[in-house]
Amino acid sequence: MNMSGTSTANSKPRESAAPNQVMIENFSFAPATITVKAGTKVTWINHDDVPHTVDENDKRFRSGTMDTDDQYSYTFTSPGTFNYFCALHPKMTGQVIVK
């Protein structure tokens, strides 16, 4: 997923996301959609200076509070599409596709 379009003038210098990592920056998940193989551990890192969460729509996983620089990981054991959002800012959405 190409992330180059998501940075803004105010963002911190972007770290290039490692594979299977999702950056939380400027009130968005990047990449917004990530495709992984079953058994993969995906890690979210909050680079914003406000807290966020990663909540799967049907509560299949919930990160709890992620303050600045906090990380959350979840291992996807079976194929499927997992839509998630930030419980504090529900306009922030993302998707993990597990093949």
Binding site: T8, F85, A87, P90, K91, T93
Partner: protein, 322 residues
């Protein structure tokens, strides 16, 4: 009346800033006066002569635990707000906290807020939660601490001196929303159970009963792109439209905005912790950070509401902490 103002002009804020310098972050506020069903506000500096049947104060978005720019100490500014309330010439009948008591729903953050509120001269405080109070455990800890005598997820109503107050909860069961077609709007929501309760709650009331509704997320759509609105608020307001005077008090957006629509006056309060940008004026609703330290308190504050009498409006005065 000439001294009523929706917003305090910058030059006045400047005067107040130098005048109240030693008060540091302790707020003035906006006093709300309800006249003929319309809320109007004026600076607390002009509020000394206002007398009504009773007054109450709305405080909001204390975000205890927040410690970043532009306010390294949200506990201190909240304490200053409470001190400010205590310094009002007339002790308010009660306080209403419209949510985001804590920044991260942590027990110690709730403890700190409760401790500071114990110092308020008005011992009665009504609460409604913000999403920051409920997001990690669906509001369980909030309800234990602040939800006594409430129903459902924390909704409630009570009467004071002929005015019917309704506290609604619109921060639970939030659904994602971004045009992804997954059914959510990303807005606040009340839910069917609460709406059914509300309809029943107001059924027996005379239409001349003044109504005050409070909830965290605005009950009118301010800026859906940032989730600043409530999905099913229209249904809630439909149960209230027969009443002659309806005042809706919200928090969440950390700034004063006001709208009058028919018999309904909508008002949002400042935060006691940090200001947020005006709708759509920034890439995200994150805290306004580029605020000089000596100006932050002009953007924080509280709301004092004076109820004048049954035929005339509430008076609302929004005070800043400058």
């Amino acid at each position: 009346m000439s001294d009523k103002k929706k917003e305090i002009p910058e030059d006045q804020a400047m005067q107040r800033r130098s005048f109240l310098k030693c008060m540091a972050w302790a707020g003035a506020g906006v006093l709300w006066v309800m006249n003929a069903g319309v809320l109007s506000s004026c600076s607390l500096l002009h509020a000394g002569s206002r007398r009504g049947k009773f007054s109450f104060v709305q405080i909001s978005d204390s975000h205890i635990g927040f410690n970043k720019e532009p306010n390294p100490d949200a506990t201190k500014t909240f304490a200053e707000a409470v001190n400010h309330v205590n310094s009002l010439p007339e002790t308010p009948a009660f306080l209403i906290h419209t949510g985001d008591i804590s920044h991260l729903s942590k027990p110690e953050q709730f403890d700190t807020a409760a401790q500071i509120l114990k110092g308020a001269k008005s011992s009665q405080v009504y609460f409604t939660p913000g999403e920051h109070d409920t997001f990690s455990d669906d509001g369980k800890l909030y309800l234990e601490r602040f939800g006594k005598n409430t129903q459902g997820n924390g909704w409630q109503s009570f009467d004071y001196d002929g005015v019917h107050f309704i506290g609604l909860v619109n921060v639970l069961n939030l659904k994602q929303g971004s045009g992804t077609g997954l059914g959510g709007s990303g807005l606040g929501q009340l839910g069917q159970d609460q709406l059914a309760w509300l309809e029943k709650d107001v059924k027996g009331l005379s239409s001349s009963t003044p109504i005050v509704v409070f909830a965290h997320i605005p009950l009118w759509t301010i800026y859906p792109e940032w989730g600043w609105g409530t999905d099913d608020s229209a249904q809630a307001l439909s149960f209230l439209k027969r009443f002659g005077s309806i005042s809706v008090l919200n928090g969440h957006i950390h700034q004063v905005l006001q709208k009058v629509e028919g018999n309904v006056t909508f008002h949002t309060a400042r935060s006691t912790a940090f200001p947020q940008p005006a709708p759509g004026t920034a890439p995200s609703p994150g805290p306004l950070k580029d605020v000089p330290a000596d100006k932050v308190r002009t953007l924080l504050g509280l709301t004092e509401v004076t109820y004048v009498n049954n035929e005339t409006p509430l008076a609302l005065v929004d005070s800043t902490l400058a």
